[in-house]
Amino acid sequence: MADTLIPKIAPQETTATAAKSETPFIDIQNVCLYYGASKALKNISVQLDEKVVTAFIGPSGCGKSTLLRCLNRMNDLIDSVRIEGSIKIGGHDIYDGDVDVIELRKRVGMVFQKSNPFPKSIYENVAYGLRLHGIKSKSEMDGRIEESLRGSALWDEVKDRLHSSALGLSGGQQQRLCIARAIAIKPEVILMDEPASALDPIATARVEDLILDLKKEFTIVIVTHNMQQAARISDQTAFFYMGELVEFGPTTKIFTNPAQKRTEDYVSGRFG
């Protein structure tokens, strides 16, 4: 009776309610990270869901990028780093003794703050990862490259100049190329470290739209210092401060009614 008279308003897609699944996809338990003697991450525990966008926010130096780089073990490259605790992705502890870091990084890709395309052609940039993982046949290579360039909304702009240098692209296009390069090897998780911070507003908007499309296929974790960006594109948000996780929850709640006063103060712009 009431259904036909009063139309139901469908909730916005970006405001997903809390956990979609029972077991978390990325399970971070009691993680502490030390740079030599100084403690950069203090007992972080958080569970991220699959195929959603999670944002890490917080002032500079709060540890959000450090935690992000733990997820694909890029922190291994720094000699003085020591990590305690466990990080499980898809149920497997990624710091286990028998984990091959190369395999991990195939399945957990990364896009960096400053776009870093190789000084090669657009084609070769995307082909690099594919070749690393055994794709040899030209037809398959061409197909995968087109698929990933389409997936990062770059295909139409570059399809006629695939063999020209990637360095000739604009900043926003280069970043989308880096995203194409990352998704070409079909990871399960994409980590993004402030991917739009070096871009102008229009390029930023296109990258954000791209992220909203990508989350249908990939789990995305994005570090951003732009709170409006986090509010626009993420489903869950984690707020970090001085190496601690202060609050984690659905994005709408964090940005309209956070539980912790520190979160409220940061989000309202009273510090940071």
Binding site: M74, I102, K106, P119, S164, I185
Partner: protein, 327 residues
């Protein structure tokens, strides 16, 4: 509705409207002086170079001819009509090329180790760096003695023993030992040039490669080294330029006063342009008569060095062009 508060910034200089123009109040003497000084310094360097080259070309042109560069001379070097420098050209070129074959790989690999693999401030790294720096300061003659003592008397003698050679083949001055001695001498140049070009590659590129699941080795071979190639070639060019004219390191290790035929084998001794200049100027019975030959030899040496450099520079330019456009 506006809240008034004191402005944070207080301007101190007079407002623009009260000054009539943007010209400086007084003439800046020191800027002018310094600019002039740098211009003079440039002129001085270029001038010296021009004077030296002009002197050589002017005096050497007379003795220079196709016959000169293509003849193997008899034992008497001092007759300008019969002498030639072909064996010296071949000897110099041969030893420089062999040196390059050794110094570039070893130097590049050392530089890669220092930049990419070694922990930045460990003891071993510091020792290696100190060794490289000190190597650069060793006098050339010391290298010659080192070549004699180590390569010839130790390595060469033992090679002869192992190969059961009845008479000394490797345990005596030979082209290979000169080339190796020169390689040791020019190693620091190649290492430093390679290191600089490796460091100039932004770490973001390496990170991007690693984040895609490449190993460190793959990253170095596929991304880093291709980018660093022009810098490595610069190191090679510098090594070639230095080694072409060096005489002291080859003195005890392979150069001969006179060889009747061209050097063909790595164990052969050889003649050398730089050494020949020394011979001409010290052994000549009639310095007036010898002078044109001397200058012509120097001219040939310069042209040879120049030619080797040009080839390397051209190759480097092509590599750079390829890197810049497409891959």
């Amino acid at each position: 509705m506006e809240t008034t508060s004191s402005p944070v910034y207080q301007p101190t200089s007079a407002p623009l409207s009260s000054r009539r123009h943007f010209r400086a109040d007084k003439f800046d003497f020191w800027s002018f002086f310094f600019s002039g000084l740098t211009g003079l310094a440039t002129l001085l360097i270029v001038g010296i170079l021009v004077v030296i080259l002009a002197n050589i070309v002017y005096n050497g042109w007379r003795g220079f001819s196709w016959h000169f560069v293509s003849t193997i001379p008899k034992k008497d070097f001092f007759d300008i009509n019969t002498t030639g420098v072909l064996p010296m050209i071949v000897g110099t070129a041969f030893r420089v090329v062999v040196m390059t074959i050794f110094v570039i790989p070893v130097g590049v690999i050392t530089a890669i180790y220092l930049t990419e693999y070694a922990a930045n401030n460990s003891i071993i790294t510091r020792i290696i760096r100190a060794a490289v720096n000190n190597l650069a300061g060793v006098p050339s003659i010391v290298f010659g003695l080192f070549g004699l003592g180590f390569f010839i008397n130790f390595v060469g003698k033992n090679m002869d023993y192992v190969l059961h050679n009845t008479s000394a083949v490797w345990g005596q001055p030979a082209l290979i030992w000169s080339a190796l001695t020169l390689a040791v001498m020019t190693m620091p140049v190649v290492i430093v040039a390679t290191e600089e070009s490796l460091k100039a590659i932004p770490p973001g590129l390496r990170e991007a490669s690693l984040a895609l699941g490449a190993t460190k080795l793959e990253t170095i071979l596929k991304i880093v080294l291709p980018q660093a190639l022009p810098g490595i070639m610069t190191g090679g060019i510098l090594a070639i330029s230095r080694a072409s004219g060096e005489v002291a390191p080859i003195l005890f290790t392979g150069v001969a006063y006179y060889m009747a035929s061209l050097p063909t084998h790595l164990s052969d001794q050889f003649m050398d342009l730089g050494y020949h200049v020394f011979v001409l100027s010290t052994q000549s019975p009639n310095i007036q008569q010898t002078q044109p030959i001397l200058y012509a030899t120097v001219l040939v040496l310069l042209l040879l060095t120049f030619a080797l450099n040009i080839v390397a520079v051209l190759i480097r330019a092509r590599v750079r062009k390829k890197l810049r456009s497409m891959h």
